[in-house]
Symmetry: C2
């Protein structure tokens, strides 16, 4: 299997499903419909939804069952970027090479568009796929729980709150600085990546050992993702990243790169990948697009 073609094919399916996922005028006022679409259509890698579908593929389940969860997770990822970019938060004016939503639509509409995307995510997961099968209903409820737990106050929202509240600034005492960083990022970025893979497996009807293996491997993917993000913040060119490079260093934020050096951080990411592969191999799931996504996360340049 050619992984690049796999990614392109999944991405095309996802773009199509995302385009149909949101309410439109006249049911939805144009001002908020346009704002949600502006941010959702800004591109991005669609890493999380592709991961969700690849996870369903890895366990041999029907990929279509995982598509609503895949889209929901991208809606949630998009809302989190909109809110994180707000002046009261990270105050970013560029994202994916375009002005951020609050710059073009104002803060109030940006807050509301984020709220709308988050809410639509759960509506989508509860609604689709349409099915009277009790087994599918049970999977949907479980997937909603997985996603909500990852996105909520104990997950992504909690991670951003720790970040804002200065839970891992370079001025913290250095004892267990790595542990603090991990506590922050396992929530802020790791939880949703992990939920993407887990929800895909759940929707595809995977048994408990497979779900557990995928969950553990995806936790490694999530950690590797953040480590590589920190490295790219230093090494990357703004044109490739589509956002301001060097921002973390400039703000004195503690990162994996600042704590362990670029080489050390790269080694950590490689270790994550190795652990993930071992986990997936023992679950019989290593020869999969899922594992290729782990390699993509570590070797990407944006």
């Amino acid at each position: 299997m050619d992984f690049a073609r796999y990614v392109d094919a999944r991405r095309a399916e996802i773009e199509q499903a995302l385009a149909a996922a949101l309410p439109a005028p006249p049911a939805c006022p144009r001002v908020v419909a346009d704002a949600m679409r502006y941010s959702l259509s800004a591109g991005g890698k669609r890493l999380r939804p592709i991961l969700c579908l690849a996870s369903a593929d890895a366990v041999g389940g029907p990929r279509a069952l995982a598509m609503p969860a895949a889209c929901a997770i991208e809606l949630i990822h998009t809302y989190s970027l909109i809110h994180d970019d707000l002046p009261a938060m990270d105050n970013d004016t560029m994202r994916r090479g375009r002005p951020t939503l609050h710059v073009v639509a104002g803060e109030a509409i940006a807050i509301l568009a984020g709220d709308g995307l988050l809410t639509e995510a759960f509506r989508l997961m509860a609604r689709l796929p349409e099915s009277a099968d009790p087994a599918i209903a049970a999977r949907k409820l479980r997937a909603i729980q997985v996603v909500a737990e990852a996105a909520g106050a104990a997950g992504m929202v909690g991670g951003q709150a720790l970040d804002i509240a200065g839970g891992a600034s370079a001025d913290d005492p250095l004892d267990d600085a790595g542990g603090q960083l991990r506590a922050l990022h396992s929530r802020k970025t790791g939880a949703l990546i992990r939920a993407a893979a887990t929800a895909g497996a759940v929707m595809a009807g995977a048994d408990a050992p497979a779900v557990g293996g995928i969950d553990a491997a995806a936790a490694e993917f999530g950690l590797a993702f953040q480590i590589v993000d920190d490295v790219l913040d230093i090494e990357g060119a703004p044109a490739t990243l589509g956002k301001t490079a060097g921002k973390d260093a400039a703000s004195g934020k503690r990162t994996y790169a600042s704590l362990y050096g670029i080489e050390g951080a790269r080694c950590m990411a490689a270790d994550c990948l190795e652990r993930a592969e071992r986990t997936l191999r023992s679950a019989g799931l290593a020869d999969s697009a899922l594992m290729d996504i782990g390699r993509w996360i570590v070797n990407r340049s944006n």
Copy 2:
């Protein structure tokens, strides 16, 4: 049945369930756990969750099945107040007689606490009540859809966006100003009130005619609620309201009171109540706490 005692009993049950509904440290970082609880515990009438439980009672279903939806709707109501109060939105500094969350915790944490409450609402509805009964699973998925649709971009979020974007200012051309006001408020306040009643009936296992009747009656309750809100904004004393009175008039916002006068608005609210009673009566549901809640909405002083 003594309605005041009914309300007190339901409110006590709801407070107990709400106190257990949110994640706590160490799973959830303290900064966001405290912020969510600050706003959730600020009191308020608990109108929406009581309405949800009364709806379950009206159709004779087990009230306990509706409790998670009742709590979820109060979490969503609370998040919407936090976000609406933000400087970028209505810029309110007092709410329920206390400083608003962004005043005490900062804007970033207020945004995140709102995001957290919204996310936890769906986690709660997907998780509880625990049951392996396929019928219950189907009800939960339906209730999640009802609530998400009411809270989302076509509902409450869309209504607030219309309000922010000036969809109903006193400077608009006057043709069909009442229609515009209704389009705004049926979303901004009406949708969640309606969803509270509908979700309660759905969770209690009501049949389609009962759900339809309750939905229609609750739409009247929602409209009456907003009309009375507008009247109280002019007539009410700040100490009773727990928020700044006269704010709508001062900001030149078009309201039911400004459009139809206080007496006219009061008549409209009474008409809503009459239509709701007729609807509930033909569904055999008029002799219920549900109908008493309609009377409470119209006759309240805060």
